[in-house]
Protein backbone atom coordinates (compact mmCIF):
# COMPACT_ATOMS: atom_id res chain seq x y z
CA UNK A 1 0.00 0.00 0.00
CA UNK A 2 1.49 3.37 -0.93
CA UNK A 3 2.04 5.64 2.02
CA UNK A 4 -0.21 8.67 2.03
CA UNK A 5 0.59 12.00 3.59
CA UNK A 6 -3.02 12.95 4.21
CA UNK A 7 -4.84 13.20 7.55
CA UNK A 8 -5.98 9.72 8.76
CA UNK A 9 -9.71 9.46 8.26
CA UNK A 10 -10.80 5.83 8.66
CA UNK A 11 -14.19 5.40 10.27
CA UNK A 12 -13.25 2.35 12.33
CA UNK A 13 -16.09 0.53 14.07
CA UNK A 14 -18.35 3.49 13.31
CA UNK A 15 -18.12 2.41 9.71
CA UNK A 16 -19.88 -0.82 10.60
CA UNK A 17 -22.85 1.12 11.91
CA UNK A 18 -23.72 2.99 8.74
CA UNK A 19 -20.58 5.08 8.42
CA UNK A 20 -22.13 8.25 9.76
CA UNK A 21 -24.91 8.13 7.22
CA UNK A 22 -27.44 7.13 9.80
CA UNK A 23 -27.50 8.10 13.44
CA UNK A 24 -27.86 5.65 16.29
CA UNK A 25 -31.43 6.76 16.85
CA UNK A 26 -32.50 5.50 13.43
CA UNK A 27 -31.30 2.01 14.28
CA UNK A 28 -32.98 2.23 17.66
CA UNK A 29 -36.21 3.17 15.86
CA UNK A 30 -35.95 0.08 13.62
CA UNK A 31 -35.13 -2.17 16.57
CA UNK A 32 -37.99 -0.70 18.59
CA UNK A 33 -40.40 -1.61 15.80
CA UNK A 34 -38.99 -5.12 15.40
CA UNK A 35 -39.13 -5.85 19.14
CA UNK A 36 -42.63 -4.39 19.26
CA UNK A 37 -43.87 -6.68 16.52
CA UNK A 38 -42.15 -9.68 18.09
CA UNK A 39 -43.65 -8.91 21.49
CA UNK A 40 -47.10 -8.44 19.96
CA UNK A 41 -47.02 -11.78 18.14
CA UNK A 42 -45.85 -13.52 21.31
CA UNK A 43 -48.43 -11.68 23.42
CA UNK A 44 -51.41 -12.68 21.30
CA UNK A 45 -50.39 -16.33 21.66
CA UNK A 46 -49.58 -15.84 25.35
CA UNK A 47 -53.13 -14.67 26.16
CA UNK A 48 -54.51 -17.91 24.76
CA UNK A 49 -51.93 -20.20 26.36
CA UNK A 50 -52.21 -18.68 29.85
CA UNK A 51 -56.00 -18.85 29.72
CA UNK A 52 -55.59 -22.55 30.44
CA UNK A 53 -55.02 -21.77 34.11
CA UNK A 54 -58.76 -21.16 34.43
CA UNK A 55 -59.46 -24.78 33.53
CA UNK A 56 -57.54 -26.45 36.37
CA UNK A 57 -54.21 -28.09 37.14
CA UNK A 58 -54.14 -30.78 34.46
CA UNK A 59 -55.00 -28.47 31.52
CA UNK A 60 -52.49 -25.94 32.84
CA UNK A 61 -49.71 -28.48 33.06
CA UNK A 62 -50.54 -29.72 29.58
CA UNK A 63 -50.39 -26.21 28.20
CA UNK A 64 -47.09 -25.51 29.95
CA UNK A 65 -45.73 -28.81 28.70
CA UNK A 66 -46.70 -27.89 25.16
CA UNK A 67 -44.62 -24.71 25.32
CA UNK A 68 -41.53 -26.00 27.09
CA UNK A 69 -38.37 -27.43 25.62
CA UNK A 70 -35.29 -26.06 23.91
CA UNK A 71 -36.71 -23.84 21.19
CA UNK A 72 -39.32 -22.37 23.50
CA UNK A 73 -36.77 -21.61 26.19
CA UNK A 74 -34.68 -19.66 23.69
CA UNK A 75 -37.78 -17.93 22.39
CA UNK A 76 -38.81 -17.01 25.91
CA UNK A 77 -35.45 -15.43 26.59
CA UNK A 78 -35.68 -13.47 23.34
CA UNK A 79 -39.10 -12.21 24.40
CA UNK A 80 -37.65 -11.13 27.73
CA UNK A 81 -34.69 -9.41 26.06
CA UNK A 82 -36.99 -7.79 23.50
CA UNK A 83 -39.12 -6.46 26.34
CA UNK A 84 -36.06 -5.16 28.18
CA UNK A 85 -35.00 -3.19 25.10
CA UNK A 86 -38.49 -2.08 24.07
CA UNK A 87 -39.42 -0.93 27.57
CA UNK A 88 -36.20 0.93 28.38
CA UNK A 89 -36.01 2.53 24.92
CA UNK A 90 -39.70 3.24 25.33
CA UNK A 91 -38.98 5.23 28.48
CA UNK A 92 -36.52 7.29 26.46
CA UNK A 93 -39.13 7.77 23.72
CA UNK A 94 -41.81 8.84 26.20
CA UNK A 95 -39.44 11.41 27.67
CA UNK A 96 -38.21 12.69 24.33
CA UNK A 97 -41.47 12.57 22.38
CA UNK A 98 -43.13 14.65 25.07
CA UNK A 99 -40.51 17.27 24.37
CA UNK A 100 -38.24 16.76 27.40
CA UNK A 101 -34.51 16.21 27.05
CA UNK A 102 -34.44 17.66 23.52
CA UNK A 103 -33.31 21.12 24.54
CA UNK A 104 -34.86 24.53 23.97
CA UNK A 105 -34.89 26.38 20.67
CA UNK A 106 -31.42 27.89 20.24
CA UNK A 107 -29.49 29.99 17.77
CA UNK A 108 -27.91 27.38 15.46
CA UNK A 109 -24.15 27.79 15.24
CA UNK A 110 -22.24 25.40 12.97
CA UNK A 111 -21.41 22.56 13.76
CA UNK A 112 -25.00 22.30 14.92
CA UNK A 113 -25.85 20.66 18.21
CA UNK A 114 -29.29 19.22 17.51
CA UNK A 115 -31.94 17.62 19.71
CA UNK A 116 -30.46 14.29 18.65
CA UNK A 117 -27.15 15.23 20.28
CA UNK A 118 -28.89 16.57 23.39
CA UNK A 119 -30.80 13.37 24.05
CA UNK A 120 -27.90 11.09 23.06
CA UNK A 121 -27.04 10.38 26.70
CA UNK A 122 -30.56 8.98 27.16
CA UNK A 123 -30.10 6.66 24.20
CA UNK A 124 -26.77 5.37 25.49
CA UNK A 125 -28.14 5.02 29.00
CA UNK A 126 -31.11 3.10 27.64
CA UNK A 127 -28.85 0.66 25.81
CA UNK A 128 -26.71 0.14 28.90
CA UNK A 129 -29.69 -0.49 31.18
CA UNK A 130 -31.36 -2.77 28.65
CA UNK A 131 -28.10 -4.64 28.27
CA UNK A 132 -27.80 -5.12 32.02
CA UNK A 133 -31.38 -6.39 32.25
CA UNK A 134 -30.83 -8.78 29.34
CA UNK A 135 -27.69 -10.04 31.05
CA UNK A 136 -29.53 -10.58 34.35
CA UNK A 137 -32.21 -12.52 32.52
CA UNK A 138 -29.61 -14.75 30.95
CA UNK A 139 -28.06 -15.32 34.37
CA UNK A 140 -31.45 -16.29 35.71
CA UNK A 141 -31.92 -18.97 33.09
CA UNK A 142 -28.41 -20.30 33.55
CA UNK A 143 -28.78 -20.40 37.33
CA UNK A 144 -31.73 -22.75 37.03
CA UNK A 145 -29.88 -25.30 34.86
Amino acid sequence: MPKTQGYPNRLGIRGWLGGGRWGMERYLYTLHRLTGLGLLVYFLMHIIVTSFRALGEAPWNWAMGAVSGGVFKVGEYLVYAAFAFHAINGIRLIIVELGFGVGKPIEPVYPYRTSVDTQRFLAIGALVIAGVLAFLGALDILMVE
Binding site: T30, L98, P105, P108, T114
Partner: protein, 275 residues
Protein backbone atom coordinates in the same frame (compact mmCIF):
# COMPACT_ATOMS: atom_id res chain seq x y z
CA UNK B 1 -3.75 20.20 -1.11
CA UNK B 2 -0.61 18.17 -1.62
CA UNK B 3 0.76 15.84 -4.26
CA UNK B 4 -1.33 12.92 -3.10
CA UNK B 5 -4.64 14.71 -3.79
CA UNK B 6 -6.08 13.29 -7.01
CA UNK B 7 -6.28 15.60 -9.99
CA UNK B 8 -9.56 14.20 -11.22
CA UNK B 9 -12.80 13.09 -9.67
CA UNK B 10 -15.33 10.54 -10.90
CA UNK B 11 -18.94 11.70 -10.68
CA UNK B 12 -21.60 9.00 -10.83
CA UNK B 13 -24.81 10.85 -11.62
CA UNK B 14 -28.35 9.47 -11.70
CA UNK B 15 -29.87 10.26 -15.08
CA UNK B 16 -33.47 10.03 -16.15
CA UNK B 17 -35.13 11.57 -19.16
CA UNK B 18 -38.88 10.97 -19.24
CA UNK B 19 -39.98 9.60 -22.57
CA UNK B 20 -36.53 8.29 -23.39
CA UNK B 21 -35.46 6.26 -20.35
CA UNK B 22 -37.72 3.54 -18.91
CA UNK B 23 -36.08 4.02 -15.50
CA UNK B 24 -33.26 6.03 -13.93
CA UNK B 25 -29.71 4.90 -14.64
CA UNK B 26 -26.21 5.91 -13.55
CA UNK B 27 -23.84 7.79 -15.80
CA UNK B 28 -20.15 8.37 -15.06
CA UNK B 29 -18.25 11.58 -15.72
CA UNK B 30 -14.59 12.27 -14.97
CA UNK B 31 -13.73 15.91 -14.43
CA UNK B 32 -10.80 17.90 -13.07
CA UNK B 33 -10.70 18.30 -9.30
CA UNK B 34 -9.84 21.76 -8.01
CA UNK B 35 -9.22 23.03 -4.48
CA UNK B 36 -12.35 24.07 -2.62
CA UNK B 37 -14.56 22.43 -5.21
CA UNK B 38 -18.15 21.75 -4.24
CA UNK B 39 -20.43 19.08 -5.69
CA UNK B 40 -22.35 21.84 -7.46
CA UNK B 41 -19.15 23.14 -9.09
CA UNK B 42 -18.62 19.66 -10.51
CA UNK B 43 -22.15 19.53 -11.90
CA UNK B 44 -21.59 22.84 -13.69
CA UNK B 45 -18.29 21.55 -15.12
CA UNK B 46 -20.07 18.47 -16.45
CA UNK B 47 -22.85 20.55 -17.98
CA UNK B 48 -20.45 23.04 -19.55
CA UNK B 49 -17.85 20.62 -20.88
CA UNK B 50 -19.27 17.11 -21.13
CA UNK B 51 -23.06 16.85 -21.24
CA UNK B 52 -25.26 19.90 -21.63
CA UNK B 53 -28.43 17.88 -21.01
CA UNK B 54 -27.68 17.26 -17.30
CA UNK B 55 -30.46 18.93 -15.30
CA UNK B 56 -30.77 20.02 -11.68
CA UNK B 57 -32.00 22.94 -9.60
CA UNK B 58 -29.62 25.45 -8.12
CA UNK B 59 -29.56 29.17 -7.59
CA UNK B 60 -27.63 30.97 -4.87
CA UNK B 61 -24.68 28.50 -4.71
CA UNK B 62 -24.15 29.56 -1.09
CA UNK B 63 -26.56 27.49 0.98
CA UNK B 64 -29.41 29.95 1.48
CA UNK B 65 -31.96 29.29 -1.25
CA UNK B 66 -32.58 25.58 -0.69
CA UNK B 67 -32.77 24.68 -4.40
CA UNK B 68 -29.95 22.15 -4.74
CA UNK B 69 -30.94 19.43 -2.28
CA UNK B 70 -29.63 16.08 -3.58
CA UNK B 71 -28.62 12.63 -2.38
CA UNK B 72 -24.82 12.82 -2.32
CA UNK B 73 -22.97 9.64 -1.39
CA UNK B 74 -26.10 8.28 0.25
CA UNK B 75 -26.93 11.33 2.36
CA UNK B 76 -29.30 14.20 1.67
CA UNK B 77 -27.32 17.43 1.39
CA UNK B 78 -27.12 20.72 -0.50
CA UNK B 79 -24.81 20.32 -3.49
CA UNK B 80 -23.46 23.86 -3.10
CA UNK B 81 -22.72 23.29 0.58
CA UNK B 82 -20.88 20.00 0.12
CA UNK B 83 -17.14 20.20 -0.43
CA UNK B 84 -15.57 17.29 -2.29
CA UNK B 85 -12.98 17.18 0.46
CA UNK B 86 -15.61 16.20 3.03
CA UNK B 87 -16.69 13.26 0.89
CA UNK B 88 -13.25 11.72 0.94
CA UNK B 89 -11.56 10.06 -1.98
CA UNK B 90 -13.55 7.96 -4.37
CA UNK B 91 -16.64 8.27 -6.45
CA UNK B 92 -19.03 11.16 -5.91
CA UNK B 93 -22.45 9.60 -6.33
CA UNK B 94 -25.15 12.21 -6.98
CA UNK B 95 -28.80 11.22 -7.11
CA UNK B 96 -32.07 13.15 -6.79
CA UNK B 97 -33.60 13.52 -3.33
CA UNK B 98 -35.42 10.31 -2.41
CA UNK B 99 -39.08 10.23 -1.31
CA UNK B 100 -40.01 12.56 -4.17
CA UNK B 101 -40.97 11.64 -7.71
CA UNK B 102 -38.27 12.37 -10.23
CA UNK B 103 -39.14 14.93 -12.88
CA UNK B 104 -35.85 14.59 -14.70
CA UNK B 105 -32.24 13.74 -13.79
CA UNK B 106 -31.60 15.38 -10.43
CA UNK B 107 -34.85 17.37 -10.30
CA UNK B 108 -37.37 16.09 -7.69
CA UNK B 109 -41.06 16.94 -7.66
CA UNK B 110 -41.38 18.82 -4.38
CA UNK B 111 -45.04 19.74 -4.78
CA UNK B 112 -46.35 17.17 -2.24
CA UNK B 113 -44.11 18.76 0.36
CA UNK B 114 -45.39 22.23 -0.47
CA UNK B 115 -48.98 21.00 -0.46
CA UNK B 116 -48.53 19.59 3.07
CA UNK B 117 -46.84 22.84 4.02
CA UNK B 118 -49.73 24.96 2.72
CA UNK B 119 -52.26 22.71 4.48
CA UNK B 120 -50.67 23.64 7.81
CA UNK B 121 -51.20 27.35 7.19
CA UNK B 122 -47.62 28.62 7.51
CA UNK B 123 -48.51 32.26 8.10
CA UNK B 124 -49.70 34.39 10.97
CA UNK B 125 -53.36 33.79 11.69
CA UNK B 126 -55.07 36.52 13.63
CA UNK B 127 -58.55 37.92 14.06
CA UNK B 128 -57.59 41.47 13.19
CA UNK B 129 -57.39 41.15 9.42
CA UNK B 130 -57.75 44.92 9.06
CA UNK B 131 -54.61 45.46 11.14
CA UNK B 132 -52.67 42.96 9.04
CA UNK B 133 -53.73 44.59 5.79
CA UNK B 134 -53.15 48.16 6.95
CA UNK B 135 -50.86 48.09 9.93
CA UNK B 136 -51.04 50.90 12.44
CA UNK B 137 -48.17 49.71 14.62
CA UNK B 138 -45.95 46.75 15.31
CA UNK B 139 -46.87 43.48 17.01
CA UNK B 140 -45.34 43.31 20.46
CA UNK B 141 -42.67 40.66 20.73
CA UNK B 142 -39.79 40.54 23.16
CA UNK B 143 -36.38 39.11 22.33
CA UNK B 144 -37.16 36.18 24.60
CA UNK B 145 -40.40 35.43 22.76
CA UNK B 146 -38.47 35.52 19.49
CA UNK B 147 -36.16 32.78 20.77
CA UNK B 148 -39.12 30.38 21.02
CA UNK B 149 -39.38 30.06 17.25
CA UNK B 150 -36.38 31.76 15.67
CA UNK B 151 -34.40 28.54 15.16
CA UNK B 152 -37.29 27.00 13.22
CA UNK B 153 -37.68 30.08 11.04
CA UNK B 154 -34.31 29.45 9.42
CA UNK B 155 -35.80 26.68 7.28
CA UNK B 156 -34.98 27.13 3.59
CA UNK B 157 -37.45 24.44 2.41
CA UNK B 158 -34.73 22.41 0.71
CA UNK B 159 -36.42 19.05 1.33
CA UNK B 160 -33.36 17.27 2.74
CA UNK B 161 -35.22 16.46 5.94
CA UNK B 162 -38.07 14.89 3.97
CA UNK B 163 -35.57 12.76 2.06
CA UNK B 164 -33.97 11.52 5.27
CA UNK B 165 -37.17 10.75 7.19
CA UNK B 166 -38.02 7.01 7.40
CA UNK B 167 -41.74 7.72 7.76
CA UNK B 168 -41.88 9.92 4.65
CA UNK B 169 -40.21 7.01 2.88
CA UNK B 170 -43.35 4.89 3.20
CA UNK B 171 -46.27 7.13 4.18
CA UNK B 172 -47.61 9.81 1.80
CA UNK B 173 -50.20 10.98 4.34
CA UNK B 174 -47.60 12.02 6.92
CA UNK B 175 -46.82 15.72 6.50
CA UNK B 176 -43.11 15.33 7.06
CA UNK B 177 -40.53 17.24 9.10
CA UNK B 178 -40.55 20.50 7.11
CA UNK B 179 -44.31 21.22 7.22
CA UNK B 180 -44.58 20.06 10.82
CA UNK B 181 -41.55 22.07 11.88
CA UNK B 182 -43.03 25.13 10.23
CA UNK B 183 -46.41 24.51 11.86
CA UNK B 184 -44.63 24.60 15.21
CA UNK B 185 -42.73 27.71 14.14
CA UNK B 186 -46.03 29.53 13.73
CA UNK B 187 -47.70 27.97 16.77
CA UNK B 188 -44.80 29.21 18.91
CA UNK B 189 -44.84 32.67 17.41
CA UNK B 190 -46.34 35.04 19.97
CA UNK B 191 -47.95 37.09 17.22
CA UNK B 192 -49.96 34.11 15.96
CA UNK B 193 -53.42 33.02 17.08
CA UNK B 194 -53.93 30.05 14.78
CA UNK B 195 -53.26 27.04 17.02
CA UNK B 196 -56.87 25.85 16.98
CA UNK B 197 -57.02 26.01 13.18
CA UNK B 198 -53.76 24.15 12.69
CA UNK B 199 -54.81 21.61 15.29
CA UNK B 200 -57.59 20.47 12.98
CA UNK B 201 -54.89 19.14 10.66
CA UNK B 202 -52.34 18.28 13.35
CA UNK B 203 -54.71 16.10 15.40
CA UNK B 204 -55.22 13.72 12.48
CA UNK B 205 -53.04 11.33 10.49
CA UNK B 206 -51.09 14.17 8.83
CA UNK B 207 -49.90 15.31 12.24
CA UNK B 208 -46.70 14.51 14.08
CA UNK B 209 -47.96 11.15 15.37
CA UNK B 210 -46.06 9.09 12.82
CA UNK B 211 -42.78 10.65 13.88
CA UNK B 212 -40.85 8.19 16.01
CA UNK B 213 -37.78 10.35 16.54
CA UNK B 214 -35.31 8.65 14.24
CA UNK B 215 -33.72 12.10 14.26
CA UNK B 216 -32.38 11.91 10.71
CA UNK B 217 -34.15 15.12 9.70
CA UNK B 218 -32.20 17.15 12.22
CA UNK B 219 -28.96 15.40 11.38
CA UNK B 220 -29.15 16.31 7.68
CA UNK B 221 -30.63 19.81 7.98
CA UNK B 222 -28.13 22.19 6.36
CA UNK B 223 -29.32 25.20 8.39
CA UNK B 224 -29.52 23.63 11.85
CA UNK B 225 -33.28 24.09 12.03
CA UNK B 226 -33.66 20.87 14.07
CA UNK B 227 -37.16 19.91 12.88
CA UNK B 228 -37.09 16.87 15.17
CA UNK B 229 -36.94 19.20 18.15
CA UNK B 230 -39.84 21.24 16.79
CA UNK B 231 -41.93 18.11 16.28
CA UNK B 232 -41.31 16.72 19.77
CA UNK B 233 -42.08 20.10 21.34
CA UNK B 234 -45.23 20.23 19.25
CA UNK B 235 -46.27 16.75 20.39
CA UNK B 236 -45.99 17.90 23.99
CA UNK B 237 -48.13 20.92 23.21
CA UNK B 238 -50.77 18.77 21.49
CA UNK B 239 -50.87 16.17 24.30
CA UNK B 240 -51.12 18.91 26.92
CA UNK B 241 -53.89 20.38 24.79
CA UNK B 242 -55.75 17.04 24.83
CA UNK B 243 -55.56 16.77 28.62
CA UNK B 244 -56.41 20.47 28.92
CA UNK B 245 -53.15 21.51 30.49
CA UNK B 246 -52.08 23.76 27.63
CA UNK B 247 -51.83 27.42 28.54
CA UNK B 248 -53.06 29.26 25.49
CA UNK B 249 -52.13 32.87 25.00
CA UNK B 250 -53.87 35.58 23.04
CA UNK B 251 -51.89 36.75 20.02
CA UNK B 252 -49.51 39.64 20.58
CA UNK B 253 -51.11 43.03 20.88
CA UNK B 254 -50.38 45.86 18.53
CA UNK B 255 -47.97 48.42 19.92
CA UNK B 256 -49.19 51.79 18.66
CA UNK B 257 -46.62 54.11 17.17
CA UNK B 258 -45.32 56.57 19.72
CA UNK B 259 -47.07 59.92 19.23
CA UNK B 260 -44.84 62.06 21.42
CA UNK B 261 -41.26 61.92 20.25
CA UNK B 262 -38.74 64.20 21.81
CA UNK B 263 -35.04 64.41 21.21
CA UNK B 264 -32.87 63.36 24.11
CA UNK B 265 -31.34 66.50 25.63
CA UNK B 266 -27.60 65.70 25.61
CA UNK B 267 -27.09 64.75 21.98
CA UNK B 268 -24.76 67.29 20.27
CA UNK B 269 -25.77 68.77 16.93
CA UNK B 270 -24.28 67.32 13.78
CA UNK B 271 -21.19 69.18 12.40
CA UNK B 272 -21.83 71.56 9.44
CA UNK B 273 -21.89 69.97 6.01
CA UNK B 274 -18.56 70.01 4.27
CA UNK B 275 -19.77 68.79 0.91
Amino acid sequence: MNDSTPKEVLYRVRRFEPGRDPSPRWQDFTIPRTPGMTVLDGLWTIKQTLDATLSWRSSCRMGVCGSCGMLINGRARLACNTQLSELGAGVVAVAPLPNFDIIRDLVPDLSPMFDSHAALMPYLIRDDAAEQENPTGEFAQSAEELEHYLQFSYCIKCGCCMAACPTVATDPVYSGPMPLGQAHRYNSDGRDGGFAKRREVLSGPSGPWRCHFAGECSRVCPKGVDPAKAIQLMKRELVWDYIRLRKGHPPAAVVPKPTEIRRRPNIPDAPPRSV
